[in-house]
Amino acid sequence: MSTATVEEIAEAAAPEPFWSRQRRLGVALILIGLLAAALFGSLAPSETARFTLSEDAEGAALTINGQFGAILFGLITLAAGGALVAGVLKRFQNLLLSVGILTFVLSFLCWQVAGKFMPLVDTTSGTLQLALPLILGALAGVLGERSGVVNVAIEGQFLMGAFAGALVGTMATSVWIGMISAAVGGLIIAAILAVLSIRYLVDQTVVGIVLNLFALGITGFLYERLMQPDAQSYNTPPMLEKIRIPGLADIPVIGPVLFDASPLLWAGLALVVLIHFGLSRTRWGLRTRAVGEHPTAADTVGIRVRGMRYLNVLTGGVIAGLGGAYFTLVATGSFTKNMTAGAGFIALAAMIFGRYTPFGALAAALFFGFAQKLATFLSAVGSPVPSQFLNMLPYLATIIAVAGLVGRVRAPAAGGQPYIKS
């Protein structure tokens, strides 16, 4: 706390600052809208951009002239920003913001895809695939956070899950045993986190970071000493195959995306719904939230605060472990050192971006997943944008999302605070 300067006092004299968050975001939208309409519009060739509903260039498609699209969508972004600055449609500010960002992305795509095609099915299912571990990781974070334990160790739980899934899955030659082992891997990290932070009151963030390093070290060591020398016996797990539901899978776009997919995806989406309703509508959820907001109040009505925290952190560990299984048992089919490459931290960002809610986390995870998918797609079609920039995209999106769009998020009041009985 410092004393105010003269300027600050003068500025503070106005009761509501004119440059509210909405207005500032509006200005940002106007700027990127101008950029889109002018730069993307002028760079885009006046050729047709095809967004195909099937896997290839043929077949039904949404089409638009690339240059026209880039300019049109850029102008819509600009308009949304203008509406925010003007302060009209106050009730739909979040909608305006979403429209502004969406049209900016579309403008960019029109430029990139002009004269080429973008398969919607592949893009969507790729987005979901890449978002899947983020969804699971963010859910683990939500469970911990809502009960008052900050889970920074999602990355470590991912790695341990991925490693355990690959190792045990290979040895047992069963993908299901692999999945269970992955869950146990996540659970082990969560258990250490829980005991140290709940029982021994160690700073939760510090424990989380140490656990991430621990997981990185131990899996890296075992990978080099065990898996690499004899990959055949230790690092060729059976993979979780996609399951196709006849009938439903024939629905255009949605069918192949959702109904010809990995069971883990279904599990992830089901968990989002389950945890959402669990938190808001059940006894367990009410108590979890009470413990995360005001543990003493929960204690005085006979709720076991530490018990609830253990339950939630450990459940979170299982879910994050399954998220780890995605890397080895769904995506690649083998473990490599540090293969999660920070995904756990992006999951953490998704949780915060999603305002500590399951559906918010889902939306945020999809957003980050799309950014990753876009990066791969663009480098595949030979975008003029340098690949280094494209690879930055998911991380850039993370920073912009967390720093710029989230605004003030109300975190659970007792998050990160150990509960000490007086």
Partner: protein
């Protein structure tokens, strides 16, 4: 040892007052009864059955409920959710699906049965303190308790709300409930208690009946005769020392806490600020001391602008300050008494300079102050944290009064301080006034404000609602503290004050109607009641 072989019996349908000073061990005793703490020795017997309470769950099961001094409510939950928490109505077996309709119905029924109006759908954080307390009581009552423990329930209430609470207590005992009423306020004890047990230093020092005089009760509580009045001559006010104009300050959450406040404190007078906790008093004082950002308006000390100074400069330009949270802001507990006594001047002669401390002069200063301010400690090298609350506060007072002062600000000067030290500190404050210092006293104890002040400023929703004489009747002060001004006062007050009252009424109207009772009972033209919502935690 907080409790030393205490025996206490509560009969059905009685209000049993547990009277004692802060730190006498009242709350410790009751926390054992409620299962939050486990006794080392001794027994709890409920309806002739010995019980062991390992957690509040056991206590609740045995029919004991407790309303804590700091409310045990989850701010972001609704009233119904808070009341249901821990014994939720559920459907769907193991799924534990919440039955919200039944929870709501339970709340409404209990609230009707005991005449405690609460809105089941309101968010607790939006409720004024008085309403939150009703929620706490309803919460206990839905658990079918026979014995209700109220821990310092009136600390956060206006005099009117206190009256209402006492009425509720009477109707509860009429229905056969027993109440343990923990307090250190003698008037309330005399008004409501059937039996009084006085606790001092963890031991029962006596029992009394409500006819016992206040002086006798105070003597029992403290262990010697005490004077409850502050002796002082009429003030001789001089120049305007502190001038605050149109001050605007935000609280920690960025909500406006002080909202266009004007105030003048003159040399040689004590200006007391009365008000229900959370009406911006804390923020006002912190802003004056440079501890909180001033968002608008000016704070001037003899025409120097304090708003742009650091706290260190403010202190050294002749301002003494007793912070409200002693252990956090007043002393460094691990430091010795001697060190704490020079926290303000450690880098100045004679105590030291930028590079070193002069241990000799620090020690001799300590010896002098300990003598002068009657600080009871083993030696000046004792860590301050081991001293009693009263002696810790005396260290703060000694330090702050040892500089030449123009303005002295005391925020909750006697919170958690024993009665003996209260007397001493009050006398020092009056002494300081008589030296010609301007004194600003902020306290949530109305008795203290009225006793010390030469003028009383009533603060409500971040503004001074009225400045009155300390002889003003309690009822009138109480109404003012609830934001209600009557027509006579309005005529006397200026337009700005009226504006504040109107704003308060407008805000009130915008709020939900759950809490209209207080306003309608007191038939006055401005309908404001309870503390502002931003004051509740």
């Amino acid at each position: 040892m907080a409790n030393d072989h205490i025996d206490i019996t509560v009969e059905p349908g009685e209000v049993h007052a547990l009277l004692g000073e802060n730190g006498a061990g009242k709350s410790t005793l009751m926390n054992q009864l409620y299962g939050l703490l486990q006794p080392d020795e001794g027994q709890i017997v409920v309806n002739d059955e010995p019980k062991v309470f390992r957690s509040p769950r056991d206590a609740i099961a045995a029919g004991i409920g407790m309303v804590h001094q700091h409310f045990m409510l989850v701010p972001v939950f609704t009233v119904a959710e808070n009341i249901a928490l821990g014994h939720e109505e559920v459907r769907g077996g193991p799924l534990g699906w919440l039955d919200r309709r039944r929870s709501r119905k339970d709340v409404i029924e209990t609230s009707k049965r005991y005449g405690l109006p609460v809105d089941p759908d309101a968010l607790v954080e939006d409720l004024p303190v008085g309403a939150q307390q009703r929620v706490e009581i309803v919460k206990a009552l839905t658990r079918d308790v026979d014995l209700l423990i109220l821990d310092e329930p009136t600390a956060v209430l206006t005099p009117q709300e206190t009256e209402e609470l006492l009425a509720v207590m009477r109707s509860l005992t009429a229905m056969g409930k027993s109440i343990v009423f923990i307090t250190h306020k003698l008037k309330e004890v005399k008004a409501i208690a059937d039996r009084i047990t006085v606790v001092r230093r963890g031991q029962i020092v006596g029992t009394a009946t409500p006819d016992t005089s206040e002086d006798e009760l105070a003597a029992l509580m403290v262990g010697r005769a005490v004077s409850l009045e502050v002796d002082k001559a009429p003030a001789e006010p001089g120049r305007n020392v502190l001038k605050i104009a149109n001050l605007v300050v935000d609280d920690d959450r960025g909500v406006r806490a002080v909202d266009g406040l004007d105030l003048v404190v003159r040399a040689g007078e004590v200006l007391g600020i009365a008000g229900v906790q959370g009406n911006g008093q804390t923020e006002l004082v912190e802003a004056v001391m440079g501890l909180r950002e001033v968002r608008g308006g000016t704070v001037e000390l003899d025409n120097e602008n304090l708003g742009t100074m650091t706290t260190k400069r403010i202190l050294r330009s002749g301002v003494g300050y007793i912070p409200e949270d002693r252990s956090h802001d007043g002393v460094v507990k691990e430091f010795s008494v001697a060190e704490n006594l020079v926290l303000d001047m450690y880098d100045r002669a004679p105590f030291g300079n930028t590079f070193k401390l002069d241990a000799g002069s620090v020690a001799s200063n300590a010896a002098e102050r300990i003598e002068q301010f009657d600080i009871r400690c083993q030696s000046s090298e004792t860590p301050v944290g081991t001293l009693s609350g009263g002696n810790q506060q005396k260290v703060v007072v000694a330090r702050e009064m040892s500089r030449p002062l123009r303005l002295f600000i005391a925020s909750q000067p006697t919170r958690g301080v024993d009665v003996g030290s209260i007397e001493f500190i009050h006398n020092r404050i009056v002494h300081e006034r008589d030296q010609g210092t301007a004194v600003l006293v902020v306290s949530s104890e109305l008795d203290e404000v009225v006793g010390l002040a030469d003028r009383v400023a009533v603060m409500y929703r971040g503004r001074i609602l009225a400045i009155v004489s300390p002889d003003t009747p309690r009822e009138e002060l109480g109404l003012l503290m609830a934001g209600i001004t009557n027509s006579k006062q309005q005529a006397a007050n200026d337009a700005a004050v009226q504006q504040a009252a109107n704003d308060a009424a407008d805000q009130r109207a915008a709020n939900d109607a759950a809490d209209q009772r207080a306003a309608s009972d007191t038939a006055v033209q401005q309908a404001g009641s309870d503390a502002p919502e931003e004051g509740t935690k």
